[in-house]
Symmetry: C2
Subunit: 88 residues, 2 copies
């Protein structure tokens, strides 16, 4: 069983669907989920985080936030990465 | 002299202008700048942070990141808040 997985936020899936992707990972026994959004998906990333936090409460904790940028197709794109951990 | 100020990211001003707003605050002697973006401005907030960090390097540090939501006009809106501190 993986201990950690990464979910890259997409504009082509609903926010609710992506919330469920993260919760399903936790329910499958994965301890840490990295939720990463690039560029225009960054605001959705925060929405998804807020909904997960609202649904799971103390059962999930935000252990790290990373902000940075990467080069894609020779142009720089910002990203936001949340590391979420299932608490119990 | 204020020790701290808040800059709320706007879609009506260019990213460069908002980068300069933050840098100007530091140059006026303000030690901490809160950079806050709501909803669709969250991705711009991360862009602005990345450009400030690129321009100022070690002269600025990210002392806190807050993610949350507030009610505006009876609907919930996500926000992202960076607390930036001038290092020297
Ligand atoms: Zn956006």
């Amino acid at each position: 069983m993986e201990r950690s997985t990464q979910v890259v936020v997409s504009r082509n899936k609903s926010i609710d669907e992506q919330v469920l992707d993260v919760i399903s990972s936790f329910n499958q026994g994965i301890k840490d989920v990295e939720l990463k959004g690039y560029g225009r998906e960054i605001d959705r990333t925060v929405d998804i985080y807020n909904i997960i936090k609202e649904k799971l409460g103390d059962a999930v904790s935000l252990v790290d936030v990373t902000i940075g940028s990467e080069f894609k197709d020779k142009r720089r794109i910002s990203y936001l990465l949340f590391r979420l951990r299932k608490s119990f």
